[in-house]
Amino acid sequence: MNENETELKVQALVDGELTGREAEDLRARIETDDGLRKLHARLTAVRGLMAGAELPRTLPESGDFHWSQISKAIEREERQTKRLARPASSAKRLLRWVLPLAGIACLVLVLSLQQTTMPDLDILLGSDHELELSIEDIDVMTFNTGDDTMSVVWLDYSIDLQQDKIDLWLD
């Protein structure tokens, strides 16, 4: 260990940063070395002088003015933060309206689609009306009244109906 390192170790000992075996060994050296003993004493004295030596000072502006500057800066920062966050919150607000509207629009579309694909059951079908389906999976039952004035056609929609798959002719 060179002289400079030893000095730094003595300082670390004074500062309580050197512990354990290393501290014990150094203490033993200090007892037998005049130079190290002096250094230890001087560093201890400097530490003693510095304890609580920070000179108290008063803020060189009035408390009210200081606070007004702080509060203005806080408000400014908060405004800026809000401004940065605004696009996200606007988008959220927009979605809050758009999503239900889109849902309603989809529902209307589906209903209107079903309206165009489903046969109008209010129509009275005569025995001479013909129903032709291109998909065989759809179950169809037909009832004719005894006097043949009315026919009821029962369609089982267990699959999705698409207009291009079903051709209806009402003669």
């Binding site: 730094l8 300082q11 500062d15 400097v46 002088l49 920070e54 000179l55 200081h66 606070w67 500057q69």
Partner: protein
């Protein structure tokens, strides 16, 4: 009508809790209690009134923004003091980047020269009041380089350990020890000089 909280008589933890939920008046009370203390710490490092005021204000703004992160591990003023110290160190780094490094480089190479100087003996002086001694120490601190003064302030006043100072100053523990040693040596020398000049010691 609910009574307004008595801010001036409220205890610090209560004020902090109120401030955490957005009570600006509680925060104002905290500012009024600790503004000088925070300013002193900023001034000790920066040695410039205007900068110290600005950095103190910034520290309070940061404290408001980070109140959620304060969980009372240290006292509120200690927590604040750490904030203002960090801001001062950032400012010193910024200043260092802004100016040529020639002065800093010169300071760093004064080590071996200072190394040959003996550590001065400065014992408490008879007849010299604590306040006067403080003022002399303060004047001596003002004459130290930024790096030497900062390491003294962080160790002696901010009461950080070597390890913590190394992290804050972005350097090694060895450098912190070395800077602290030379800073104390220089400080002791400056004090002795001023005391001799005034005939307080031979």
């Amino acid at each position: 009508m609910p009574e307004e909280p008595a801010y001036s008589s409220a205890k610090e933890p209560q004020l902090v809790e109120w401030a955490k939920v957005g009570d600006m008046q509680a925060f104002e009370e905290l500012v009024s209690r600790y503004r000088d203390r925070i300013y002193v710490r900023a001034y000790s490092i920066m040695r410039n009134e205007d900068l110290a005021v600005d950095l103190s204000q910034n520290a309070w703004v940061k404290a408001w923004q980070r109140l959620e992160q304060f969980h009372g591990e240290a006292s509120f003023p200690t927590w604040l003091s750490r904030i203002v110290t960090n801001l001062c160190l950032d400012e010193l780094r910024r200043q260092k980047r802004a100016r040529t490094d020639s002065i800093e480089a010169m300071e760093e190479t004064t080590g071996p020269v200072e190394n040959r100087m003996e550590m001065e003996t400065v014992d408490p002086i008879e007849g010299l009041g604590r306040e006067e001694l403080r003022e002399r120490i303060d004047a001596a601190l003002a004459k130290l380089s930024d790096k030497h003064r900062t390491v003294i302030v962080l160790y002696e006043f901010e009461q950080l350990e070597y390890r913590e100072i190394a992290v804050k100053m972005d350097t090694s523990i060895g450098t912190v020890m070395s800077r602290l040693f030379y800073a104390r040596k220089r400080l002791a020398g400056l004090l002795k000089e001023t005391l001799k000049r005034d005939g307080l010691i031979e």
